[in-house]
Symmetry: C2
Subunit: 198 residues, 2 copies
Amino acid sequence: MNRPKEFDREGAVAVLMDEIWEHGFEACSVNSMSDKLGITRSSFYNAFGSKEKLFAEILEIYSQSGPGNEMFEITQSRSVLSSITEKLYEICKGQEEDKACRGCLAASSIQELVKKNEELEPVLKEFFYQNIQYFEKIIGIAIQRGELEDCDVRIKALSLQNMMIGLSEMSKIFRNKGELWSICKHSLKALALYGEFE
Amino acid sequence: MNRPKEFDREGAVAVLMDEIWEHGFEACSVNSMSDKLGITRSSFYNAFGSKEKLFAEILEIYSQSGPGNEMFEITQSRSVLSSITEKLYEICKGQEEDKACRGCLAASSIQELVKKNEELEPVLKEFFYQNIQYFEKIIGIAIQRGELEDCDVRIKALSLQNMMIGLSEMSKIFRNKGELWSICKHSLKALALYGEFE
DNA sequence: TTAATATTATACAGCGCTGTACAAAATGAT
DNA sequence: ATCATTTTGTACAGCGCTGTATAATATTAA
């Protein structure tokens, strides 16, 4: 009934996520992204609506696949703190090995979007609000299970988020092998959120 | 012997620091900055050489006046941890009150410069390296004075830096009154770097 | 007054980007 | 085969930005 798309939309979104992750939201023009995909700007606007709508879509995917909800794999049998610690270990290793120094997509976008993009600022904030809600939830579970002393759950969650955003940026500057994980490990222990794993 | 400048260079640098701090390095074009000062681009290039040289100059001033060396006022009579804590309290309060959500100039510039600006990347890194050196120094003093248990000074310094960079970005997202300081206080206590003040 | 010097003004030629508007092409249902 | 629909191609008109080059201007020492 209609002319079919000549490109794979899902694959395109993945490509553009990498582009924006690496070069940043502002540096990625509609022009350059269209070129990257080998399509025209017409097709871009037709498929994604706008750069903003595309980014919102990408952030949604990022929050499902990367960090975000169900970031830590919490199970009945496994220690919450170990789950947190292992995931952060993986993140540290990943960032140390990332030659492009991309850090966390959401954290890196704060500077470019807050107070600079009316449409995307609330989208990005919502991402972090949900993240914190999730952190609060699992920290609550850790307390219930007796893995963690009773404490202000929100402040603990925010402190963890704070540390993780810090890591994202630190990973771009301090590139000594193993150092990022040392910082993370020390900070987790300090926050009483460290658990041995494996 | 020569035609005098028709503008105050020192004042101009201060104005441009505010511009870049608020809008970011990339968003500030030579055009817009020249307009802001009411001078032509010729005069801009003549006075500052390039955007990059200007930024390096600004960062130098920032490191002397804002954070950076001698950030914490360490004296013989005063507790090192109290000095750290008080300074961070001031930073938190300042960021909470900052309507423009500017955060830390250096931290905010990481995303825009690392892997994106060959000339400024090393300048920005040097800023953080010096910062860490300074942190190591004062943490060493704290240990000497018995204010802090013996520990890996570098990791402690990096963890502090990590937390501070986190705060810079968190301050743009989480704007509840007093929350930033709560995070900071909790994290400082966790790192054993908290000291009462006043 | 003149010459030397530095600042400021004007202009150039080119680049990439924006969003839209309209035409062309490709498909499937009727 | 035609029609409706959607995607894709081409073009428009305008904007801001870049760095340099050359000319005009203002100052002061000689």
